[in-house]
Point group: C2
Chain length 229, copies 2
């Protein structure tokens, strides 16, 4: 047959490696979503059989752990490139910039929160990031005790995302259904009606603005506690 070796298909690799496997995994998750990432699809995208992957990663769990590493590396890079004030001068602004930089990375990898959520053990990469957050607060005048509480209070927000269990946007039913809804969730319906006075109706939630609101609420509260000693 023709093309015995030198084909230019997706399997153009000179040899597999852990970084190459992880880069392939990120590409699939970015392009086709997390559900499309299987050992078989990953192997195929690398021009190799599924079983070959096991020479470079222990199993699929290890691939997911690797995805966390990749994302955290991108976040660390984004944070390093920041022109933030010294925490001694303005810890709150420094923290805000850090969190929003992390958030920008996550926007590029919308699957990332789901992967973070499934990881049980504490990854070193994540621990390093939180170590940086704690270090920032220390330089900003936090005691270890308050810094500890702050880490818990921030939770996933420190990494740039929050859990939106309920999206008011989801309520915007097609008019007729709204009347039926009004009995079940009167306050939500009224809230939407109130918001539509301004003009915007559908897609009226500005998630970035809401994220920043919640973040500032917490940071303001922490600053108050810090200042109070």
């Amino acid at each position: 047959m023709a093309g015995v070796r030198g084909g230019s298909g997706p399997g153009q690799q000179v040899g597999l490696s852990r970084p190459r496997v992880l880069r392939g995994a990120v590409a699939i998750a970015d392009e086709r979503g997390l559900a499309a990432l299987t050992m078989r699809s990953l192997a195929e995208s690398l021009g190799v059989e599924a079983m070959s992957l096991y020479h470079h990663v222990a199993n699929k769990e290890a691939v997911l752990d690797g995805l966390v590493e990749v994302v955290m590396a991108e976040i660390e890079e984004a944070v390093a490139g920041l022109d933030a004030p010294a925490p001694e001068d303005d810890w709150q602004r420094a923290m805000r910039m850090r969190v929003l930089a992390a958030r920008e990375v996550l926007v590029r990898h919308p699957w990332a929160p789901s992967v973070f959520e499934t990881r049980t053990g504490t990854s070193l990469a994540v621990a390093r990031y939180f170590d940086g957050v704690l270090g920032l607060m220390r330089r900003g005048g936090f005691s270890y005790e308050l810094g500890h509480r702050a880490l818990h209070a921030l939770g996933s927000r420190a990494l740039g995302f929050s859990q939106e269990l309920f999206e008011p946007d989801g309520i915007e039913a097609p008019e007729e259904a709204l009347a039926a809804m009004a009995e079940e969730v009167p306050h939500l319906v009224a809230m939407i009606a109130d918001a539509s006075h301004g003009g915007a109706v559908l897609g009226w939630c500005d998630y970035q603005a809401e994220f920043e609101f919640g973040l500032d609420l917490i940071l303001d509260g922490l600053e108050r506690l810090r200042a109070a000693g």
Copy 2:
């Protein structure tokens, strides 16, 4: 063969039904974890073949949706049984009690947050709960606009849980590893050393206390904004 019909095995049912299927699903998740919940294991626990389930639920997604309904019903019941102040008198205390009541339900179903996270669409049961939260804030003097922002700021905390991406507890390595860790995450190591002065070393995170701290941080901030008009 003996025991043609009247056996007293797990399949003691007189006939399947959606509620019966969901109750079985909750039981499996409670006892053996979410991963153990498969259509086949669920069927077996009900003394039936897997394919029989499809006469009562559309598919596995519908089972997971049903789990959310069951949990939300338990939460609504817990909230209804609360002896909370009228929101007009003390919305913050009323809200705090509501959230902590929800949290108690979730503690009984540790798999619940994972299920909530995988649900994409807005469930009516969850919408109803958030409608109640918004109603409480309205009675407490919130505008719809601030109430809306409050719902976002609270996020999953309104239902009693928060995402702990990083558990400082996970750091408490077996002494020797700590020295190696000290280079990678110096602030976290120092934080733990600082905390151990008091006495408690391992298992030193009081998650309930940390949850309440974060909740109060947000509620205090919201009250400040509400009072400021």
